[in-house]
């Protein structure tokens, strides 16, 4: 048996303060009895009650005792620590006591408020106070560490969210790295035709921001790039970014576009949702930033057949670079904004919609391109055979609010469905039928827009689509496609026929959202979107300090909400940069090298990759700056070599013993 050899503490002098909380506690708990009980516990030198401990006089009483009675531990028995722990920690600090030499016993939320039984509540309060007194005995003062903040910021994703956040930070003259995996920034918004409810031209309002960003002295734009690895912690992140080979020298290219004119090979255009074509060397869309083409290896004659090089021949700038390779760039930043966006639901997995089976069934996003003046049809709404539809059905909630796919509401579909309806009405004589479940027009001016559309004469049919069939040869009055929809409440079945169907597909998390979550050590919610720190009070931060989440990667939202969120995140980042320093978690884990067996189990399970193995000494080490203090490694360590500051095994055991007395 070994004697304990770790250094121990000075004589412990504890003060216990029991709050009446008006009648909130004292109405149920016999606070005087609890105080009397506490006064007899080991190390307790004072036990007092007060009506409102959190009030100025209450705090003053504690401060005075700390000074006069030479207290070095304080226990307050009152409400939940989530409520007033910061208050009393500050009280202690003001009296010169380290904030961690304090412990709170929750005798309100966990005790007086959940019972009417005075006797049991009093008994429980005593146990909780005893546990706190025993626990606080083992508390150690902890230092709050601060680290300087790197003033650069990494923005991941170049859609409207990323653009907005990046511009706002860059305009404050702080460096921004904007990483976008596509060849151009712009995201989904640049694909849109008009935006609801104002009917602004999407490209018209976004393009100026894109070009501002493209030439901004404080922005380094890294398109066709992805973040591969992240290390470090708030204030001091290091990101490894893969800049994929573009085969065109960005420095030399003038963006003249000759190359794509000369290129003989074609492929479906991603930007046009496959409705149009582009060349093997192409600029994704006219307003692209950067305005530099890219070679699509898969569809390039040279790469596939070894012959061609037409682009190279015609490029006066000599910018074509067939031997281009991926580059790894390392950047150091203090904060990170994730704006990785969304993808739309693929309706072909839901057979009832007939998408992919019949012609002229398109998604809402495809409709945007169809409708857009720069799109493949020059803005003409037409069927595949080139004719103008006589009737169009717009189906809401495709993949949203559907138990089979996504439970949630995608928030924008109702509104863009109305907008589509308006555009169809504007450009054709077609009849429009909206097949909806509920119409949700919650935003500013949205209800007006709805009223306006109703006035324009759209039909509204309530129902979930059961089936889409070909109506050819059947006795339908108009339209080639027969839609069967059922009212989810009444069960009433309606038949609608149309020449064209627009499916308002759900906004869903990017396919690789979990990889993003992993790379950046942030959490995913069950629905697959990135999780914010608090849904109400901290909706743009994540639980990893220094990493923020904006736009649709956090959940479906419309453009105004996205922009507001992006600005909010930018403001948060700027606040950190301005402060210049960040506080690190004090309650971290630390490994005792003498006790570590070097089994490395902790290395595997740390979600923050804060633990590394020292090959020389054959022991593990915790980078305290990375540690968030979850304690998972502590509980997993077989040899008990990890101490969790402020949640030490001794402290928790003392608490166990305390509550069991």
């Amino acid at each position: 048996m070994t004697e304990e050899t770790k250094s121990s503490k000075d004589e412990v002098r504890t003060g216990v303060y029991i709050c009446h909380c008006g009648t909130n506690i004292a109405g149920t708990v016999d606070v005087a009895a609890v105080a009397d009980y506490a006064s007899h516990l080991d190390s307790v030198v004072a036990a007092r009650v007060y009506r409102f401990m959190c009030s100025e006089p209450g705090q003053e009483m504690i401060k005075q005792d700390i000074k006069e009675l030479d207290l070095n531990r304080v226990v307050v028995a009152s409400c939940s620590p989530t409520m007033h722990e910061p208050t009393f920690r500050k009280t202690c600090e003001q009296a010169g006591l380290n904030r961690h030499l304090f412990q709170m016993a929750n005798i309100r939320e966990h005790c007086s408020w959940v019972t009417a039984d005075h006797e049991k509540a009093t008994e429980k309060a005593k146990a909780l106070v005893e546990a706190a007194v025993r626990r606080v005995y083992f508390h150690e003062p902890l230092e709050v560490r601060e680290v300087p903040v790197n003033s650069s910021t990494l923005v991941v994703g170049g859609g409207i969210a990323g653009i907005q956040a990046a511009l706002q930070i860059a305009n404050s003259r702080h460096k921004v790295y904007l990483v976008e995996r596509e060849p151009s920034i712009g995201g989904h918004m640049i694909q849109l035709d008009k935006t609801f409810p104002t009917l602004d031209c999407s490209a018209c309002i976004l393009t100026p921001n894109m070009s501002e960003l493209g030439s901004h002295p404080y922005v380094e734009l890294l398109t066709y790039s992805e973040v591969e690895e992240l290390s470090g912690y708030v204030g001091n992140f290091k990101a490894k970014i893969r800049k994929k080979a573009r085969y065109v020298d960005e420095e030399k290219c003038t963006g003249c576009g000759v190359c794509q004119g000369k290129c003989p090979w074609k492929a479906p255009s991603e930007f046009e949702m496959g409705l149009g074509q582009r060349k093997a060397i192409y600029i994704p869309f006219p307003q692209a930033v950067p305005n530099v083409p890219i070679i699509d290896r898969e569809n390039c004659a040279y790469f596939q057949k070894g012959k061609c090089r037409a682009c190279e021949k015609f490029c006066e700038a000599g910018a074509i670079k067939f031997d281009d390779e991926d580059k790894i760039i390392e950047v150091e930043v203090g904060n990170i904004i994730l704006a990785t966006g969304f993808q739309t639901f693929d309706p072909s997995v839901a057979a009832q919609y007939g998408y992919g089976k019949f012609d002229d069934i398109i998604t809402g996003l495809e409709f945007e391109r169809l409708c857009n003046a720069t799109g493949p049809t020059g803005g003409n709404i037409q069927l595949k055979d080139g004719s103008v539809p006589r009737s169009v059905a717009i189906v809401h909630c495709v993949g949203s609010r559907d138990e089979e796919f996504h439970d949630y509401c995608s928030r924008v579909c109702c509104m863009y469905a109305l907008k589509h309806s308006h555009l169809i009405k504007e450009k054709t004589d077609a009849q429009v039928c909206q097949i909806f479940t509920d119409i949700r027009c919650f935003g500013k001016d949205y209800e007006d827009f709805y009223e306006r559309l109703v006035g324009e004469g759209a039909n509204f049919v309530r129902g979930k689509v059961q089936q889409v069939a070909s109506a050819n040869g059947k006795g339908t009055d108009r339209g080639k496609l027969a839609i069967t929809a059922e009212d989810p409440d009444s069960g009433k079945v309606t038949q609608v026929s149309a020449d064209m169907i627009v499916l308002c597909t759900a906004i869903e998390p990017q396919q690789d959202a979990d990889e993003v979550a992993h790379t950046f050590s942030v959490s995913l919610k069950a629905d697959g979107f990135l999780m914010e720190r608090h849904p109400k009070l901290d909706p743009v931060a994540t639980r990893t300090d220094g990493i923020y989440v904006v736009g649709c990667c956090q959940g479906p939202k419309d453009i105004p909400d996205t922009v507001s969120q992006a600005s909010a995140a930018a403001a948060k980042v700027l606040a950190v940069i301005t402060k210049g320093k960040v506080e690190l978690e004090a309650s971290t884990a630390v490994i005792d090298e003498d006790l570590c067996s070097g089994c490395r189990i902790c290395n595997l399970l740390c979600p923050y990759s804060a633990i590394s193995f020292d090959d020389e000494k054959k022991v593990s080490n915790i980078n305290e700056a990375l540690c968030k203090g979850c304690g998972t490694c502590v509980a997993a360590c077989p040899s008990g070599a990890i101490t969790h500051r402020h949640f030490t095994t001794e402290e928790i055991m003392a608490e166990i013993e305390g509550v069991l007395v």
Partner: protein
């Protein structure tokens, strides 16, 4: 006794020592009863003449590698013991380059005590499906053909069928006999914490009383520490001087770990141990 097998072990050991490949060879020699066997540490080529191998060589010699860290050592390893090598490699306790593994095919070990050798195979051997070490550098005696019973965990399911109260009584009686000699810990290749929890004062998990309540704590924690790590050599049970059926604990955990996490310790030196990993989609009984 398989003379040819023994000769192969001796030849290999002698050559390894002669060539300076290793500093020592850990194998088996005849015990002082002239009947059973005991560990032998051979440091010179002449020592290797004492090496033997037969059905009494129950000791898991892998444990000793923990005493010889940083040294080049050869060790004679049965199939079950070889899982301990993988365990220790997995947990970073030994380095593959430092260990030369003389594997032996295993016909199964018989129940032995000093001066006693029974004809019956040890229970663990009857259902053992490993006839060849899972890792080795040299396989002495070649592969062995042998028929083993199916592993049904019938002893465990039998216990599980009893009432909780019956089991409580049973274990209290068993643990009540424990004299806290710690032989189970000392012999276990998976027990290598620099300071055992049983010897920690900060916190005090278990006191010095050799009495049921503290023995209970000791045995509960000891066996749970080996959850997903026990490689089933059953040395703890073999050495227990008061015959506590420790395999009933170890095998229960082994069975559950297999069922819950589809994991068996010591088969793969790279696979993450069950408590160092998880599957998001898995659903445990208490969640149903």
């Amino acid at each position: 006794m398989d003379k040819e097998l023994i000769q192969q072990i001796r030849d290999k050991a002698r050559n390894l020592l002669k060539e300076g490949t290793v500093e020592g060879v850990i194998g088996y020699e005849r015990a002082s009863d002239d009947l059973t066997s005991r560990p032998l540490f051979a440091y010179s080529p002449s020592d290797t003449e004492r090496l033997i191998f037969d059905e009494t060589c129950a000791h898991n010699l892998v444990k000793y590698l923990l005493d010889k860290k940083g040294k080049k050592i050869a060790v004679v390893v049965k199939p079950c013991d070889s899982r301990a090598i993988n365990l220790l490699l997995n947990e970073g306790q030994i380095e593959r380059d430092n260990v030369f593994i003389i594997g032996v095919g295993c016909p199964g070990m018989v129940e032995t005590n000093w001066n006693h050798k029974s004809e019956t195979l040890q229970a663990k051997c009857r259902t053992c499906q490993l006839f060849k070490p899972v890792v080795y550098d040299f396989l002495a005696g070649g592969e062995i053909e042998r028929q083993a019973e199916e592993e049904t965990y019938s002893d465990i399911t039998e216990e599980e069928a009893k009432s909780v109260a019956t089991r409580r009584e049973f274990w209290l009686e068993q643990f009540g006999r424990c004299i806290r000699c710690y032989a189970c810990r000392q012999v276990c290749p998976g027990c290598y914490c620099p300071v055992c929890f049983a010897e920690r004062l900060d916190p005090l998990w278990v006191g010095i009383r050799i009495a049921p309540e503290e023995n209970d704590m000791w045995q509960t924690i000891r066996s749970f520490h080996l959850a997903g790590r026990c490689i089933g050599c059953n040395e703890c049970e073999r050495v227990c001087p008061v015959d506590i059926p420790l395999s009933l604990l170890n095998r229960k955990l082994e069975k559950d770990v297999k069922e819950l996490f589809a994991f068996q310790a010591g088969l793969d030196p790279e696979e993450a141990p069950p408590f160092a990993t998880f599957k998001k989609e898995e659903v445990m009984e208490f969640e149903k």
